[in-house]
């Protein structure tokens, strides 16, 4: 029994995996990893880059009606977590490497998500507007969510 426990390779493997699990777990907690599964807007400002958007959302017209995820992730649960995962990957890559512009603009796919969400909540109002072709909501209503 003891001899079995002292099986050296197995012990070594268990130890190293334990180190990784411990280090990984600590990093996850330290980086508030679980907060990213939530809808809490403060989670988006975990990285100081988003602080000014967070601040201006709090003083903006939509703050009582919508949080970050209401505009920046799609409504259907599967698509929502897919977008969260993709954005999470993009953001952590950019923030870790530091390779991103000071003034951040939406990627085309992110812009499509936002436009979709405007229509999701305001369907009654906008349904008749689009008869003439594609229009952009945020081209005019660019400060309803937050300023830059």
């Amino acid at each position: 029994m003891l001899a079995h426990l002292l099986n050296l390779p197995a012990l070594a493997l268990a130890t190293t995996l334990g180190v990784v699990a411990g280090l990984g777990g600590y990093t996850f907690v330290f980086a508030k990893g679980s907060s990213y599964a939530s809808d809490a807007p403060a989670a988006c400002a975990n990285c100081h880059v988003m602080q000014s958007r967070y601040d201006s959302w709090r003083s903006g017209p939509h703050h009582a009606a919508a949080v970050c995820n209401d505009c920046h992730t799609p409504a259907s649960p599967a698509a929502k977590y897919l977008v969260k995962a993709l954005n999470g990957w993009h953001h952590s890559k950019a923030f870790t490497s530091g390779d991103y512009p000071d003034v951040i603009l939406l990627r085309e796919t992110s812009r499509a998500v936002v436009e979709g969400q405007c229509r999701h909540c305001h369907a009654d109002v906008v349904a008749s507007m689009e008869a003439g072709g594609a229009v952009s909501c945020v081209r005019c209503h660019d400060s309803v969510g937050h300023l830059r």
Binding site: P9, A12, L13, T16, L17, V19, V20, L23, G24, Y26, T27, F30, A31, C47, H48, V49, Q51, F95, T96, P101, D102, V103, L105, D142, R148
Partner: protein, 486 residues
């Protein structure tokens, strides 16, 4: 215990363990690196500022300020870099240093690029040497070594905007800034040069204890007082009455403005008592009977406009929207977790993301095309105005050579003065029309019209110009008699 010694025991395969070890080691190292990175990013957000030296009203050396504000200082030093935009910016032209001019590089010569400028400035120092302006770091050397110094004796007043001059003026005036200003203005350039050591530096814009923006140039204080008085605001003082946002334009407007040296005391004056518009400035000069020089080929009493960026900006849509110089030329940037003003002052076209996209959320390419579209149109009309002026100068020169009287030529000479000043006003301005596109185009149209009227006035003695001809004396007034000293 090798297989050879004991063939009954099968050889253990060790490679899976080696692979697992390497993979796990890399994973652990990656996680540790990520952990350290996250920790670093969190620390950045805390934004520490440590004051390691005491800054006072006498601390002129920017390197000392740099110990307290290393990020801003490093950015400030980058103004030594040279970079070209489509119409502006500067290119480093290598130069063999000489005894009287040790510079190893200069920027391109504008009078060689467009020789019509030499015609416009005939008889004036700018016809001898006029180059594309470079970054702040070069201002003191470029002023000290320009050939204009050899053509004309320049006064100490030049130092106002080519050096960090505030502490020197305070010392000269024994603690009284205006007194020091009055003493430095009439000094010979070489003498005033000995009092200063640095190009524009921290203390010229910042109060050293609180870092708030502060006006340090008496000419701006006096110019603004006159301007505000014309608008009904008495005793205006930007240091106590301007908003923080206004100050982000005013500190730049201490130098990036039209000016002249008044009287034998060479007092630096910003001609704003009638307003900031080019026509108002021209009316101010007409009323004062001021001329910069007499045009060598035509005998007209003409004016030289100099870098009226502030005045031009004030006529444009950005000024109206409350957007100031610093918003585009020193936009906020991220250094670590710190938000700082980019002290590498430069063309926004070299920094479009930070300078423009904070407000204009179009692609960089689109924004650049918009700006260059405005500038291309400006440049084409500017060329037409230049041709019109050179044509008037040619006609005037011929009329003078034909022996026509001064009285005969007075109207055409005055129209040359007007057309030339308005053209020079937008030409000397450093945005190629961008700071106020419509106003600039209006001034060019007026300039072309004055050149046209000048040519008609030469052909038709009965012609009545659309503006009243103002008589400007072309002979210098007698030198003031120095007071007798017992």
């Amino acid at each position: 215990m090798t297989a050879k010694q004991n063939p009954a025991v099968p050889a253990r395969r060790t490679w899976p363990f080696t692979v697992a070890f390497v993979v796990v080691a890399f994973a652990a190292a990656g996680l540790a690196a990520l952990l350290v990175n996250i920790s670093g990013r969190k620390a950045e957000a805390r934004n520490p500022t440590v004051r390691v030296v005491e800054l006072t009203d006498e601390t002129v050396d920017p390197a000392i300020w740099g110990k307290d504000f290393p990020v801003e200082y490093d950015l400030y030093r980058k103004t030594a870099e040279m970079g070209k935009t489509r119409f502006g910016g500067s290119e480093a032209m290598p130069r063999v240093p000489t005894l009287d001019d040790p510079r190893t590089s200069v920027s391109q010569s504008k009078i060689d690029e467009d020789p019509r400028l030499k015609v416009m400035w005939a008889g004036y120092a700018f016809a001898a040497d006029f180059r594309e302006d470079r970054g702040h770091a070069h201002m003191l050397d470029d002023q000290g070594f320009t050939k204009r110094q050899q053509v004309v004796k320049q006064p100490g007043a030049c130092m106002q905007c080519h050096a960090s001059v505030y502490p020197a003026m305070m010392r000269l005036g024994g603690g009284d800034l205006v007194k020091g200003f009055e003493k430095m203005n009439p000094m010979p350039y070489a003498e005033a040069r000995k009092l200063v050591d640095h190009p524009v530096a921290c203390i010229d814009c910042h109060e050293p204890r609180t870092m708030t923006l502060r006006i340090s140039r008496p000419a701006f204080l006096e110019g603004m007082r006159a301007l505000k008085a014309s608008q009904g605001v008495q005793s205006y003082d930007p240091n106590t009455m301007a908003t923080r946002q206004e100050m982000r334009a005013y500190v730049c407007a201490q130098c990036h403005v039209e000016y002249y040296f008044k009287g034998p005391e060479k007092r630096l004056v910003f001609p704003w008592a009638k307003g900031l518009g080019a026509d108002q400035i021209l009316a101010f000069y007409d009323e004062a009977g001021f001329k910069d020089w007499v045009h060598k080929e035509t005998g007209a009493p003409v004016l030289k406009a100099q870098h009226p960026e502030f005045e031009t900006w004030s006529q444009g849509v950005h000024a109206r929207s409350g957007v100031t110089c610093a918003d585009c030329h020193m936009p906020y940037m991220r250094v670590g977790g710190q938000k700082v003003s980019d002290h590498h002052v430069r063309s926004p076209l070299l920094n479009i993301n930070r300078a423009c996209q904070g407000c204009h959320k179009w692609e960089e390419k689109e924004l650049k095309e918009r700006v260059e579209g405005i500038q291309t149109k400006f440049y084409s009309v500017r060329n037409q105005a230049m041709d019109a002026l050179v044509s008037l100068i040619g006609d005037l020169k011929a009329a003078k050579a034909a022996g026509r009287s001064d009285q005969d030529l007075e109207a055409a000479r005055y129209l040359q003065r007007r057309g030339q000043f308005l053209l020079d006003f937008v030409e000397a301005e450093n945005s190629t029309g961008f700071h106020a596109p419509q106003e600039t185009m209006r001034l060019l149209s007026e300039s072309i019209d004055f050149s046209r009227q000048g040519q008609i006035a030469l052909r038709d003695p009965g012609f009545k110009p659309t503006v009243a001809v103002v008589a400007i004396a072309t002979t210098p007034p007698p030198a003031p008699v120095p007071p007798l000293v017992k």
